[in-house]
């Protein structure tokens, strides 16, 4: 494999990182909204958020990408593969992060928001200053675990023609007929992204277990 092929793989890696980052950042915004709706105490909002979570956790990511890409094209919205997969991953991550954070918000002791209410703090401050900082800490191991899943999940974007790392590997492999070498390198690149995150996640989890003992 020559330098050109390797650089092509790195370009794929760049798109994998970019797609993961967009999915995670936009998904975090959506997920926060879902988690807040789900814990709002307002029935219709809670139902809506619960339905959204159920829908996206109950169907394969691949199918979600298909629906966004081809489905939106059917109703006349022709999106580039790049935009379509970004939307797909954002919707997907919103559901999972929303559910993780709902659990974390509910894991913050009720006395915390009661004390905040008794101090006449209103909803926004109660959440922003008191509940969410604690919920985020609680959620960190699971959130990082999901980020790792999301990074690996971006390989599915190749299905709709988006050239991220896995598809770049496929293309190179078809050119130089050394699948084992190419996919070995692709695997190592994924591993180098995910392994440190996994380590960090379990480190946090352990520290957390000690702290709450």
């Amino acid at each position: 494999m020559g330098l050109g092929e390797f650089l092509f793989l790195l370009t794929g890696l760049k798109w994998t990182v970019a797609l993961s980052a967009i999915g995670f950042v936009c998904g975090a915004i959506g997920g926060l909204a879902i988690a807040l709706m789900r814990t709002s105490g307002m029935r219709p909002l809670e139902r809506l958020a619960a339905g959204y979570i159920a829908l996206f956790q109950g169907t394969p990511l691949l199918m979600q990408l298909f629906v966004v890409y081809y489905g939106l094209a059917l109703v006349g919205l022709r999106l580039s593969a790049w935009v379509a997969v970004s939307i797909g991953f954002t919707l997907h991550a919103s559901a999972y992060l929303g559910e993780i954070w709902r659990g974390s918000i509910e894991a913050v002791p009720r006395g915390q928001s009661e004390a905040a209410s008794a101090l006449n703090l209103k909803y926004v401050s109660r959440m922003k200053d008191v509940v969410l900082p604690q919920a985020i800490r609680i959620s960190l191991p699971a959130t990082i675990g999901f980020l790792v899943q999301l990074i690996k999940g971006t390989s599915l974007a190749s299905i709709v023609g988006f050239t991220e790392l896995a598809r770049a590997g496929n293309i190179v492999s078809n050119q130089i007929f050394q699948p084992l070498l190419v996919f070995g390198i692709v695997g190592i690149l994924y591993f180098l992204m995910c392994w440190p995150l996994s380590l960090y996640g379990s480190h946090l989890e352990r520290r957390f277990a000690v702290a709450s003992r």
Binding site: G111, A115, A116, A118, L119, N120, P133
Partner: protein
């Protein structure tokens, strides 16, 4: 026991809290029935009764941590209802101290005391910090201002919780069993802080089974059972001549030497 805190003539002062025929249900369970209670400015009430009698529920209705279904609650002239303005007006007046302190664990002692004044009273950071330092000094814990709650003993945490509530300049303080989660040797430091507050004329409703505190500080002791107020009397009368059988039985259990 000597009475350190003078009885003031509270009869002429206007009522700070009025509860009229208040009823509270948890689903199909009636937790409070026909509660009538009037607390005058500067008055100190001790609320006692067996577990599950509705003491916490009663005081939590006063600052709207619980909603009630029937009757009326007025705090400092504001009628408490669903309206956000009335809840805001009432919570401005009322501070609360919890059994388990409920300090914010991710903030230092000082930050715990500064948050609400900055957010709810819109004080500047400097004003909030000055107030916090003054009140932490008053509960004699200023030297711990930069520590996190987990680094303090239970008694220290509860004194911080009292200072945190006082930073909002309340005119009423509610205490829900403030010493019952504490090791025995820390009870006194918290009670002394509360006695200090009483001496300065704070209106207080304390749910507590510290009968020494009740004798020393209370203007009135109220005994609850099964969601109702059974008996209320000044401490001298309450402890020496309880009228109701249930009160006698309760006092017998609680005052029995361990």
């Amino acid at each position: 026991m000597t009475r350190h805190v003078p009885i003031r003539d509270t009869a002429t002062a206007d009522p700070m809290i009025v509860m009229a025929d208040v009823e509270k249900w948890y689903g199909g369970f009636k937790a409070l029935s026909a509660i009538n209670l009037s607390v005058r400015r500067g008055e100190r009430i001790v609320l006692c009764g067996p577990s599950g009698s509705g003491k916490s529920t009663l005081i939590r209705c006063i600052n709207r941590l619980e909603v009630y279904q029937k009757g009326e609650i007025r705090v400092g002239g504001t009628r408490l209802d669903d309206d956000g303005h009335s809840i805001d007006a009432v919570r401005r007046e009322v501070g609360m101290v919890f059994q388990h302190f409920n300090l914010f664990p991710h903030m230092t002692v000082l930050q715990n005391c500064m948050l609400a004044p900055m957010r709810a009273l819109k004080l500047s950071r400097r004003e909030a910090e000055e107030t916090a330092q003054r009140l932490l000094d008053r509960v004699r814990i200023l030297e711990q201002a930069d520590k996190y709650p987990a680094q303090l003993s239970g008694g220290q945490q509860q004194r911080v919780a009292i200072a945190r509530a006082l930073c909002m300049r309340p005119s009423v303080m509610l205490f829900d069993e403030p010493t019952s989660a504490l090791d025995p040797e820390m009870v006194k430091e918290v009670l002394d802080t509360m006695i200090g507050l009483a001496e300065e004329g704070m209106t207080m409703i304390c749910v507590t089974h510290e009968m020494g505190f009740a004798r020393q500080v209370a203007d009135r002791v109220i005994f609850m059972a099964d969601g109702s107020i059974v008996e209320e009397a000044p401490p001298d009368t309450f402890f020496t001549q309880p009228r109701h059988e249930r009160t006698r039985k309760f006092l017998g259990e609680i005052l029995r030497p361990h």
